[in-house]
Amino acid sequence: MRLVLERRAETPWTLNLLSPLLAVGLTLASAVLVFLAMGQDPWQALWVYFLMPLSDSWGLQEVAVKATPLVLIAVGLALCYRSNNCNIGAEGQFLLGAIAGGGLAVAMHGADAGRWLLPAMLGVGALAGAAWAMVPALLKTRFGVNEILTSLMLVYVAQLLLDWLVRGPWRDPDGFNMPHTVVFGAEATVPLLLEGGRLNLGTPIMLAVVVLGAVLLGRTLKGFEITLVGEAPRAARFAGFDEKRLTWTVFAITGALAGLAGVLEAAGTVRQLQPDLSPGYGFTAIIVAFLGRLNPLGCLVAGVFLAITFIGGENAQIMLQMPLDVTRVFQGLLLFYVLACDTLLLYRPRLLRRSGA
């Protein structure tokens, strides 16, 4: 027996919907095996991991809070990946946004800043994220340097920059030498939406970005250009689309959205800068983008699912003493399955009996 792939003439639309669902199903099935291997009761562990986060208002708010940065970043990444630009450094762009926006909050701390402070922080954060993303974009278009490696190297640089700032110049003077900045003042924090939780204005902003992203991709010339450059670069060149300009555009958008996510996280959820500001949102968002089939609305659904695994992982650590890394294992497995199931879209797999040839 051997597996043979035959190219499909066209993809039935049902498969487009089924393939991510199949991937999620396979991940859950693997999760059961992992739980069994770790000596846990699989049904209880599944409940703690995937359902408990949805069982009360606090959990639901946390899901929204965690999904916000994931979806914001993933919508940008979807544009990038669609146009064949492999930005994998969103984590760094996220941190730069948090550093720039948070820096403004630290600088204005104690001063009578007024209502413009928060909008200014969001703007500065988005700009800083975009600027950080433009480095690999420019190096790619000017010198042909592989953007995968440069964008990733800049993640490490951003992490070290944040580490230096919160341990050095920006450290809270009354913080007992702990590595974090002052807690942001009221004007520098994103307003909460509900009492007794952390749901804040960031989530509606994220939803607006999803709608904007869907309109951009589905209804505008720019969106068509992005898809065309990715799927048929030759045709795009004949159509007169400028590939370099497009690379800059998508990198700038992705960086700005990641930066925005960074400020929202710093000013809305954490309310100060600290070295472990991000539990790897920038990397998890890559999975979100692929699971969402590089479609903004899909990213929203996928982001919610991955947010659940984050919270489920924390619950499982507390209730079942499972290491936090198990979440990463599931996330990696999920991306494996997503990619494997995507093969179904392009090819029809067939098992052939081994014959003479």
């Binding site: 597996l3 043979v4 792939l5 190219r7 770790m38 492999c86 994998i88 190096l139 010198f143 042909g144 340097v145 592989n146 995968i148 490696l149 440069t150 990733l152 190297m153 800049l154 490490y156 640089v157 070290l160 920059l161 580490d163 230096w164 341990r167 050095g168 990397f283 890559i286 999975i287 692929f290 290491p323 936090l324 890394d325 198990v326 979440t327 990463r328 294992v329 599931f330 996330q331 990696g332 497995l333 991306l335 494996f336 990619l339 494997a340 995507d342 093969t343 392009l346 090819y347 797999p349």
Partner: protein, 305 residues
């Protein structure tokens, strides 16, 4: 002289894991496959290597287990990208995320458990040469292995028929297929070799360099190994040069910190990453677009029957 000797010895220690991982990835990319999961395979090698060494009490078994772990990870990647023609960039990323997570789970019980490192092997006579002998011929087996691998890969790729076929798969898989070579099988073997090398590099980290396990201990070395392959223009001896250059920068940075250079430690720690970017830019500027990697690097190949 003694200080210089000490510095050179630490440079070798810092460079060896980079070289081991880079030489494996070089072969993978020569066959036309871009495996971005080096970091994941390497860290699994580190975790499985130390856990196996602690449980069996044998360093040799630890190394063997690390190599096997690297190959198992590579096999997952191969099954996805070759068997199912999946996107290589995304599959490599998934491999890295998966490996970092799984290594944390595997190593959870062995965090910080100290262990005797693997001893050095002094080559008779040669190691008695003052200075040179000390630096070059009184090393742990991994260092010798890394140079043996560079020489072996160089010979294999340019002096053997199998090496020619492997390179053909990376340049033009359709032609290689038309000549009757099993492109996917050859690429799969190359991917496995890359996994074995990355696993070996991981074993070096957890069994020799810092003889204990700590979560996330590869710290981006797998990614730097990928950059070294580009730096090396896919040539084995240049990969050795690149690995030692990067190893040297890392050590210089550590010595600068130790000597109390009035710069933030974080800036010094960021140097290897910044220099990686700088070197990539210089390489591409000098090359002016021409003469890059293998022609079909990163493109899936699905044979027509």
């Amino acid at each position: 002289m003694l200080l210089l000797e000490a510095i050179l010895l630490t440079v070798i220690v810092a460079s060896t894991p980079l070289l081991l991982a880079a030489i494996g990835e070089l072969v993978v990319e020569r066959s036309g496959v871009l495996n971005l999961g080096v970091e994941g395979m390497m860290i699994m090698g580190a975790a499985v290597g130390i856990v196996a060494a602690i449980t069996t009490g044998s360093s040799a078994l630890g190394v063997a287990a690390a190599v096997a772990a690297g190959m198992a990870m590579a096999a997952i990647f191969g099954a996805l990208t070759l068997g199912l023609a999946a996107n290589q960039v995304a599959a490599g990323l998934a491999l890295s995320i998966f490996g970092i997570g799984l290594s944390g789970v595997v190593g959870a019980g062995s965090v910080g458990v100290p262990r005797e490192g693997i001893g050095q092997i002094a080559l008779p006579l040669l190691s008695d040469i003052p200075f040179i002998g000390h630096v070059l011929f009184r090393q742990d087996p991994f260092v010798y292995a890394s140079f043996a691998l560079v020489a072996g890969v160089s010979w294999f790729l340019w002096r053997t028929r199998a090496g020619l076929v492997l390179r053909a798969c990376g340049e033009n898989p359709a032609s290689a297929h038309a000549l009757g070579y099993l492109v996917l099988r050859i690429r799969f073997l190359a991917v496995l070799f890359g996994g074995a090398c990355a696993g070996l590099a991981g074993a070096y980290l957890s069994l020799v360099m810092t003889p204990f396990w700590s979560s996330g201990m590869t710290a981006g070395r797998g990614w730097i190994a990928l950059a070294i392959v580009v730096f090396a223009s896919w040539l084995p001896w240049r990969a050795a040069l690149g690995a030692y250059l990067f190893g040297g920068v890392t050590i210089l940075q550590l010595h600068a910190q130790g000597a109390g250079v009035p710069l933030p430690t974080q800036l010094l720690a960021a140097l290897p990453y910044l220099i990686t970017i700088l070197v990539l830019v210089l390489i591409m500027a000098l090359r002016r677009g021409g003469g890059g990697g293998p022609q079909s690097l990163g493109t899936p190949f699905v044979p027509d029957r």
